[in-house]
């Protein structure tokens, strides 16, 4: 059984048809990458999966049940974590509080889970020294690490990552990449990644290429041809 199955999804922004009949699957323990240039609907797809946007038709099946009728926070509690583009750190909350909020998705929520798992500091050691800082004061890269850490604290079954390396220094990109890989290996969760950096794309198992709101190509990443890259990623 697939962890996530998206069938014939159509999403509109007002009147503009953004997603046009998207089909996609993600399995546990698998990293799936969504490629395509800016503005082709990758973010819209992730938002439709987490529930921030309501598709006009189509179906989203997660962990065996249809979820398109339930609200985002229930989707989060059922095991989908979302790291949006631009990180969306809660700016005036401290790093620690931001991390704590990640555990809201666990059973019992924040009331029962008050201790931040130390595995997070193993993955992102830098967070430990900034616990008392305001989330909004961190640099972009730190915020990105915080956002991923926050998502992981909810022990999700599926992680949605939207351009985690965008606008981030190369050395941190390395850290993030290895952290994500490590998590998949250790916990066996599924990851759906939106990425433009080929380097990161190559680390994933499968890819879907999007253009103008639809999936135009898909397959194993190791079979990702230069032609496809030229067509969908380069300038």
């Amino acid at each position: 059984m697939n962890l996530l199955e998206v069938q014939n999804l159509n999403t509109y922004y007002g009147e503009s048809h953004i997603l046009r009949g998207v089909d996609l699957t993600v399995n546990s323990g698998e990293m799936v990458c969504l490629i395509g240039r800016n503005g082709v609907g990758k973010t819209t797809l992730l938002k439709s999966i987490i529930g921030l946007l309501t598709p006009r038709d189509g179906e989203i099946i997660f962990d065996g049940r249809s979820i398109q009728r339930i609200s985002p926070h229930e989707r989060a509690r059922s095991g989908i974590a979302y790291v949006p583009q631009g990180r969306e750190i809660i700016p005036y909350l401290t790093v620690e509080e931001n991390l704590l909020l990640g555990m809201e998705a666990l059973p019992g929520g924040l009331n029962k889970n008050k201790k931040i798992g130390s595995f997070i500091y193993d993955l992102f050691p830098i967070l430990k020294q900034f616990l008392a800082r305001k989330g909004g004061d961190l640099s972009g890269g730190q915020q990105q690490q915080l956002a991923i850490a926050r998502a992981l604290l909810g022990k999700p079954k599926l992680l949605l990552l939207d351009e985690p390396t965008e606008g981030i220094q190369p050395n941190i990109v390395q850290d993030i990449e290895s952290a994500v890989r490590q998590i998949i290996v250790q916990t066996g969760i599924g990851v759906l990644l939106v990425e433009q950096h080929l380097h990161f794309v190559r680390k994933s198992d499968r890819y879907y290429a999007m253009q103008r709101g639809g999936i135009v190509s898909s397959g194993q990443t190791n079979q990702l041809s230069k032609a496809v890259v030229e067509k969908f990623l380069s300038v």
């Binding site: 953004i18 800016n38 631009g86 950096h197 990161f200 300038v235």
Partner: protein, 251 residues
């Protein structure tokens, strides 16, 4: 050698410590069509905000037709001849297509003249002309809110042209458009250039290519490089910005 219409010198803008624009320099010549691309967060929208007076830069200079326009209020900058099309189409949805255009065409823009004055023949002709250009003449009495997404984009471009600005700033005109619509938009912009100076921001490469114009690449708040589309495509810096580290890709 024509006079440069717009010059941005060393513009820097920071928002609460985050540097949105970093010593940006850019010059536009009269009648030029210029495309600006760049990854998300490169500062494209902020750069338009600076030109139109919405954001006042921390340092640097904006010279339009030889005069500095820093600190002038938005509606005055608009009257000086800079028009802007927003990212998502912002037309006045409760007004009809004709009324939308009438607002942009009418001059002067003081309250009394809009209350007492009437549009003259030239202006009415111009509105019809504009509706012809963007193919909306059959919809002239329909509320703009009822138009399709693409039609709204065109209406907004038409409104922009109707303002008769010397400089048109066009932000993401083809977001959410079909292939056919975006091709039409490119043709429209091309046909407008020459009479107008146009700056287009978009990240649809198909569309930018079709514009056949010089391209400026923004990255992290400054200009990474400028050149024709074919030059840009092989520029290693640009490829890095767009594709990540090169060595992986070339393997």
């Amino acid at each position: 050698m024509s006079l440069s219409l717009l010059e941005l010198n060393n513009i820097s803008v920071s928002f609460e410590g985050f540097l949105a624009l970093n010593k940006l320099n850019l010059t536009l010549q009269q009648g030029e069509l210029r495309a600006v691309i760049g990854p998300n967060g490169a500062g494209k929208t902020t750069f338009l905000d600076v030109i139109t007076g919405k954001v006042i830069p921390n340092s640097g200079e904006v010279i339009f037709k030889g005069n500095s326009i820093l600190g002038i209020r938005e509606h005055r900058i608009a009257r000086l001849g800079i028009g802007r099309k927003f990212q998502s189409p912002r037309v006045f949805e409760k007004l009809t297509v004709y009324e939308n255009l009438a607002l942009s065409v009418s001059k002067p823009k003081r309250p009394w003249s809009t209350l007492f004055g009437k549009l003259n023949k030239i202006q009415r002709d111009q509105i019809n002309h504009l509706m012809n250009i963007v193919n909306l003449q059959s919809r002239s009495n329909i509320s703009a809110g009822l138009l399709s997404h693409g039609q709204k984009q065109w209406l907004e471009i038409a409104m922009l042209v109707g303002q008769d600005p010397d400089l048109l700033l066009v932000d993401e005109p083809v977001a959410g458009l079909t292939d056919e619509e975006s091709d039409l938009t490119a043709d429209l912009l091309k046909s407008l250039s020459g009479n107008h100076t146009i700056l287009v921001i978009d990240h649809d490469m198909e569309f930018i290519r079709r514009l056949e114009s010089p391209v400026t690449v923004l990255h992290q708040g400054h200009v990474l490089c400028e050149g024709s589309m074919s030059d840009i495509q092989i520029d290693p810096q640009v490829i890095e910005v767009y594709l990540g580290q090169q060595e992986e890709g070339s393997k």
